[in-house]
Symmetry: C2
Subunit: 256 residues, 2 copies
DNA sequence: CGACAAGTTGACCTTTTTCAAACTTGGTGG
DNA sequence: CCACCAAGTTTGAAAAAGGTCAACTTGTCG
């Protein structure tokens, strides 16, 4: 049972604050009710009162053009960012100047949770296509979580889920890694109500390669082999999975 | 500022519960005041009232002998486990029957945070030497966090820190991975007030190898090379780091 | 002491990287 | 509209890193 009274007070406080700032330019608040990704995002399925309180602390940014870097490594942490639309790449350049690709994120996913511990963002986040981002002040959401236990539980869940990111770092052959990656993406698109067999990978080959810890040349060859064998069909960033069983066989123990 | 009144009520509730169960065998509660690892563990540096409330929900287990598996993959999740003493290995056997080593954990560290999202433990946890473990009921600690904001913040911090576990991905040479691993361990022992130059690695070579995504033969050869070059001295599980600069040079961008 | 597990070493072989070069695209301006 | 450019992608051949297999050494514990 939510404490509706507390939530109401909370929302009112924010309303007041917003009114005080009315003169200054303030980004519009998010509308989680119309957001397709909301169910997979922080709010999950929440009641209207709770949602209103939550929306007060979310700041909607965009639409931003492809290539926009909205988080930069090293910047002080104060918010997590949810993806409303668009695909996002997280990456960092190491001390040798090589770019390391850490993840590919789809709408509804959260970026920046790892930054809390060190108080600074640990990687860059870049939009791969035109998209919208929701900025969620962390101190505020944590504050709200104290009076809205369901939200607290949801945050713990999201942190925990972030720990489960598949590591393609292990010593599995390249075919296994690529097959597992494709199946993983397929599942995530399906979860969002899109086709599990046909989707677009926002990352260029080079970056997929780096994400899967191989070279772009190797990546290209493995894709070619998969296509020869009739497992997939590719046209640039557009991918069609033709034979799930074969892919699962390829992925072996890495299969999601 | 803690809400001492709430904390007090909380502690009293638990006291009552404990008294009711007095007849039945109940594991002794933890004493975080005397625990050397407490500062790095969940409580951090807490005031006495808060600590009492916290201790009520911690169950101290052990001493357990080396080889004890106290978490089994697939078991339903209901608690996280803190290491009071001893080294712990987390691992899982994949669908092909190969063991994958996920981590080596030192006293004060938390195991099981990743299990919350799926409601089941995602790996086994095994003590590598005689040690004591603290079982922390997750529903209860989350409940306490609602009235003790500092604890909530601490939990978020711990989740976030768990996301930063170094990935020993295959696209770095083996020397880099081993050097980085040794430096990482060194730093973690130092943090605990032990020697940064001399420590014991609970894992057998085979398992270090698997953790660093290489074969035991390769591991052995890299250790031999390091010893030849005077970077380290090893005697079985006992390691002495002799040249930090050289190791840092070897570790390159992976250096902690 | 002897058996068994853990660790080491050497020879050989496979996978993946590296380097180099050709080839597609999509966008830009003439 | 088309030529051109740059970014991205593919291909081939050679090389290196690390894996595999098998023998061997060492340490441990009854």
């Amino acid at each position: 049972m939510e404490d509706l009274q507390s939530l109401h007070c909370w929302a009112e406080d924010f309303q007041r604050e917003i009114e005080q700032n009315a003169g200054r330019a303030r980004p519009r608040a998010a509308d989680c009710r119309t957001c397709h990704s909301a169910v997979l995002c922080i709010p999950g399925q929440a009641n209207p009162e709770a949602l209103t309180a939550f929306e007060c602390l979310v700041e909607q940014i965009g639409p931003l053009p492809a290539g926009s870097r909205y988080i930069s490594m090293g910047d002080p942490f104060d918010a997590v960012y949810a993806i409303k639309s668009g695909q996002v790449k997280t990456s960092r350049v190491d001390t040798d100047g090589n770019e390391e690709v850490l993840g590919l994120h789809l709408p509804g996913e959260l970026v920046g949770l790892d930054a809390l511990a060190g108080s600074r963002y640990r990687c860059d986040a870049t939009l791969l296509d035109t998209g919208m981002i929701c900025r969620v002040s962390f101190p505020r959401v944590a504050d709200l979580a104290l009076v809205w236990p369901t939200l607290q539980g949801r945050l713990f869940q999201l942190f925990s889920a972030a720990l489960q990111t598949r590591r393609y770092s292990v010593d599995h052959p390249v075919e296994m890694r690529l097959a597992a990656f494709l199946l993983d993406l397929s599942g995530r698109w399906k979860q969002r109500g899109f086709s599990a067999t046909e989707f677009t990978i926002g990352l260029p080959r080079q970056d997929i390669a780096r994400l899967l810890a191989m070279r772009k040349e190797t990546m290209s060859r493995v894709f070619a082999r998969f296509e020869e064998q009739g497992f997939v069909r590719t046209d640039r960033k557009h991918v069609t999975l033709l034979d799930f069983d074969a892919l699962r066989r390829q992925a072996g123990p890495l299969a999601p």
